[in-house]
Each structure stands twice: as structure tokens, then as C-alpha cells.
Symmetry: C2
Subunit: 349 residues, 2 copies
């Protein structure tokens, strides 16, 4: 077998996997850490710290003074290709057919596989070796949300890419391998399954009601307040109604907008302040748990969609999915979303 | 909020959650164990050991000598209601409407919730305090597969139940809370999402080809052998083509059959011997990892389906799903399924 990455689709369910043997070589400093919480093992120097820029591929975006040099110190935020990528941009030319960059080979109409084309990027959120996103300053945290926007806009120029999955892993239990706070972007020729499912579900709701389901949820939750955790002028934070993890929460804009790329710099700062407040509350309630967040937005180059609505889902990795969850897709949650919202509200600063 | 369990469906994706606050009270002896592997903390006595029958609800099935007393020692295998159930049978009468036992209240057509009606059972696989299923004798392991069948047949008598999810968690990382080897059954008025997805995907394949997709997969994998791990007269073990976990494998019957209930006692023994061989190989390759398995079979009371095919999926909990997996439903796998199959074959006894 080649060690080049490959997309594969389950022939029964349609679930996607990326077979990426190179990933097994990535360094891990969090491996030995206590799994549920966030402590780092010993490894110096950190490849994401200033002065170690030679240890990452050349930056594709940096917020840095005009008089500083690319790939040298002085930056406030850097986005670099992942050194151990799950997908690779150079596979276009390796494809056996020239007419499609997202070449899909069907195997007796059953086993679908295609080259693991795409871009895997790491967004290094600050120069300081901070493992905890709530320790970012408001402007640093805001820059993270601006950089998400800037990369989504840039990646849309690559027509072979259909979707950019933006996410963050905090803590070893959440899959992080390095402690220095960072996000990841994996842009692919496929639209991932959960986004497909959200697009289909929200389109079905729109065809029934002529309304965006996320707008309906926002309206309902602002009225009922049972699952309302926090809000700012333009954003809401909600305890998920049918979560996969205990204390799962979602952030979404109050006004309808399907494309995250439309966010303004002022909104990035507002979102950052709101997210920091809620994450700090989570850290108090659960003693700094590991968590993931993911930015759910419309596919690259889509025009504004009346049925879809961007949002961020945050999943604390407290509960352990087991046989019922992995085998059947049904999630047992021992803390009710309403109880969770109450506790979040009690500990908000 | 009530502490009664409740089913909830995500309004966008249709994913199901069971909100079950009582689950937080269950005892855990594996909690402090090293997470990836299988070691047990100190807790005596084990509620699943002989002599402790008073510590579990009354058995609903037991393989025991005719002259032994129910809920006393002497048994070879016991199935008891879960003392800390995710779903409960007594919620039928608590439903606010009398006309449906699976009463679903729609809330402005968006937030679907219904009482957490169902049966949660624990299948205690042997009297000995064995944490490792490969240490079961062939006849003990075979009895586990017979008991799955017997409970599926019994649960089908309860017309309010649509599906029985049968699964097993081995090791703390896989969600097990007690070390004594056991399986679980959670029978519900809903058909779980992954089964719905498999039924839909296999029905679509059947409508295109007039063939069962699992039969097609079995035929293809027996011919190619790249992902064939092991086989016996009637069963195959395959490395999953597009897995969610590294070294995920599936067991399925070679002949077409949608309902697990049709398995014979001789086939249970054959399946047990095959499963033990493959699990022992996994234990060598990965140093006794935590894992889950789940039995995917047709819904309760269904007649034989031409498009569906029962099988067991085994998911070693080696790799850690992170933001891409949980946020987007796309799985990064660092060991190719073909490499995995080779290693399984090398270590088969």
C-alpha cells in the first residue's frame, strides 16, 4: 500500500474516512498527560514557539508587523501547513486522471476511494506557550476568529476544495498532541458528513416552514431561556438540546447568516469575549476539562443560503462515548442540558 | 426538571440522545484505571460475582441448573435489568397520553422529546471475575452469543420496543465502569441512527442492484483477501474499508441473513471460537486495548429483509477521535485497513 493519504467512503453508511499513515509520525507532548484534563508533559523546544519557525513549513498567513520577516519571530499569530498532514495539496498531479482534481475511482460501484487531496493547516494562536485558550488576551482571541475568516476566504480560491473544516482540540483526551494553543483547518474536496446532514436537515425544515431552523432555535431559546447560557449583542450561547457530550454548547449569531466569512472584525472581538466567558465558566464547573470545538459554516464559494446558519459547537470531553454511542449513534447524557445551562450561568463572570 | 430519562432528537441532524440523570450514580471500579488498556482498580465485592446476586435486580434470563434457585448462585450466565438504567420500562404509565407507548411530544415541530421508555439490561457473561473476554471458555463465549439471541427473541414480545441495541464495552477507555466481563442491551421504541442509516444505505444498494450490499462486500473481500482477517465455515472477519477507529473489524455471516435471531447454537459456538481468535490477535498487536463491539441486526419483529445483513462491529479504542471526527464526522486513520488485516493474520493462533 502507498503511504499517500486517501479518502474512503463506507459503502453502507456513506461515512468518510481519511487513511493517512503519515499522521502516526507526529510528535506528541500531551501523550502522557492525565487524559481528562489539561497538563503537559516535558518537551522542549515547542515547535510552535517563536524562534522555532524553522520547525514548521512556511507560513501561509501571519499577523505580524510589516517590518518583520516571514517565518521569523515577531508574529502575533501564524498559520502553517501541518507538518504531518492528513491530506496533501500535491496529490492533484499524482491523480491517474487529469480531468478531475477530486478524482474518485469507483470500485465495482461499492468501494469509493480517492486521493487524499486537500490542505491541512495549523493555526498557532499566540507566540506565548499558553496551553489554555482562556489565557489569551481579548485581542489575541479575536485574532483567532479573524484568522478563521481569512483562511476560509483564501481557501475558497482553490476550486478543487469544497469545504474547510475548522476545529480546535484542547487537551490530550480531546486529541491534541501539542500543548501550545492552536486550531486546525482541514480543507477537502468532500463536504464532511455532519455538514451534509445539517445542510439536508435545515433544507428540509426550510421547505416545510420557509424559515431557517437555527433562527427558529435562537428565537425559541431566547424566549424560553431554559437552555440559554449567555448572550451578547449579536451572539447567543446555548446548551445543546440533544447533545452528544455532557455540557455541549453552541455559539451562533442572532441574525441569519450562513457564511462565517461574513463576520466583521468587531464581531470577532465580541465573539471572542463571549467565548472566553463561557469557557472560563466551563473550566470552573468541570476543573479545566479537555474539549473540542468546530466551526460549522456553509461550503466554500457558496452564496448566502436562506436555510443554513453558521455556528460553533463546543464539546467538553467529559463523558466517554461507549458501545451505544459508537455502535448505534445514540448518546446517553447524565446531566440534563437545562441543568448544564443553569450551572454555566451561575459561574459566568 | 424531572430525573426520569428522556429521548431527545436533535432538530437539525436527527441524532438521538437519551437524557438519563440516574446514570451518574452508577458505581465505577475502572475509573482510575489506565485508560487505553484494561486494568481494574480495587473494589470488593463485585456486584456481578456469585453470592452478590442481591446487589442486582432480579434476573430476566439465566443459564443455570434446573435445581438452582433464581437470583442465587450456581448460574453460568445471567441477564439482569441495569440497576442504573438509561431507559426504564415503567415510563409507559407515566406518559401523558394513553394512546401511544412511545409518546412523542412535538414542541413547535422542532424539539422532539419523549419519555425514556425501554429496557436496559446487563448480561453477566460468566460467574468468574474475569475482566478479559478471551479468558472465557469456548462454551462460555458461545453462551454469550446464545443469550443475545434469546434476549432479542424475548424483547420482541414487547410491542412498544422497536430495536434492541446489544453491545459490549471492554476497558475504561471504552466506557466500561465494571471489570467483570459483561455485555449490555438497551431496547428502545426508536431505531437508532446508525441502524437507520445502514438500513437506508443497504436498501438503496438493493434497489440499484437487487443484491445485498453486505453479501457483495463478503464476496469481494473473500476474492481480494486484502482486508480478510479470518474466516470459518459460516463467518468472515474483515478489516473495515472506511473505519472510524484504527484496526476496526467486522464479523458477518457468509450466507445472507438479516436477523441475528436466526443464529443456531452450533453457529454461536463457531462464532465464539472465531471471535476469540481475532480478539487474542488484537490483544497481541495492541497490548490489550480497550474496545467496544456492537451487534447490528434488523429491528425487532421484522421479517427477513433481502437488503440487510446482521454483523458485529468491533472498535478498538486506540486512536482518539478529535475535532474533525466529532465536529464533522470525518475519521482520520493512521493505520491502513490492509496493513491492519496483515497484522491480524500474522498473530492469529
Amino acid at each position: 500500500m502507498s503511504i499517500e493519504p486517501e479518502f474512503r467512503q463506507d459503502p453502507v453508511c456513506g461515512r468518510w474516512a481519511i487513511i493517512a499513515p503519515e499522521r502516526s509520525h507526529r510528535p506528541k507532548t500531551l501523550e502522557g498527560a492525565e487524559p481528562r484534563h489539561r497538563r503537559e508533559g516535558e518537551r522542549k523546544p515547542c515547535p510552535f514557539c517563536p524562534g522555532q519557525e524553522y520547525d514548521t513549513p512556511d507560513e501561509v498567513l501571519a499577523y505580524r508587523p510589516f517590518d518583520s520577516s516571514p517565518n521569523g519571530p515577531g508574529w502575533q499569530l501564524r498559520v502553517v501547513p501541518n507538518k504531518f498532514p492528513a491530506v496533501r495539496p500535491d496529490l492533484v498531479t499524482l491523480s491517474s486522471t487529469a480531468d478531475s482534481t477530486a478524482d474518485t475511482t469507483t470500485d465495482k460501484n461499492m468501494f469509493l476511494a480517492s486521493p487524499g487531496l486537500g490542505r491541512a493547516e495549523v493555526l498557532i494562536e499566540c507566540p506565548e506557550h499558553l496551553p489554555d485558550p482562556t489565557h489569551l488576551s481579548d485581542s489575541q482571541f479575536s485574532a483567532v476568529f479573524s484568522a478563521y475568516r481569512d483562511r476560509l476566504i483564501a481557501l475558497a480560491d482553490e476550486v478543487q476544495l469544497a469545504y474547510a473544516s475548522v476545529f480546535k482540540n484542547v487537551g490530550a483526551e480531546a486529541g491534541a498532541s501539542l500543548g501550545h494553543t492552536h486550531s486546525q483547518i482541514i480543507a477537502t474536496p468532500i463536504v464532511p458528513g455532519i455538514i451534509e446532514s445539517e445542510l439536508a436537515g435545515s433544507a428540509a425544515h426550510f421547505s416545510r416552514t420557509n424559515r431557517c431552523i437555527f433562527c427558529d432555535i435562537a428565537h425559541r431559546e431566547m424566549t424560553d431561556r431554559d437552555r440559554l447560557i449567555a448572550q451578547s449583542e449579536n451572539f447567543l450561547v446555548l446548551s445543546a438540546f440533544a447533545p452528544r457530550f455532557e455540557r455541549e454548547f453552541w455559539l451562533l449569531p442572532k441574525r441569519h447568516v450562513s457564511r462565517y466569512e461574513a463576520i466583521s472584525s468587531a464581531e470577532c472581538l465580541e465573539l471572542a469575549r463571549l467565548m472566553k466567558r463561557v469557557l472560563s465558566s466551563l473550566d470552573i464547573i468541570m476543573d479545566k476539562p479537555a474539549y473540542n470545538w468546530s466551526l460549522h459554516t456553509a461550503p466554500l464559494r457558496s452564496t448566502e443560503m436562506p436555510h443554513y446558519h453558521w455556528h460553533i459547537e463546543v464539546m467538553p470531553r467529559i463523558s466517554r462515548p461507549a458501545g451505544l454511542e459508537w455502535g448505534f449513534g445514540c448518546y446517553i447524557i447524565a446531566v440534563s442540558p437545562e441543568q448544564s445551562a443553569r450551572e454555566f450561568r451561575e459561574h459566568l463572570s
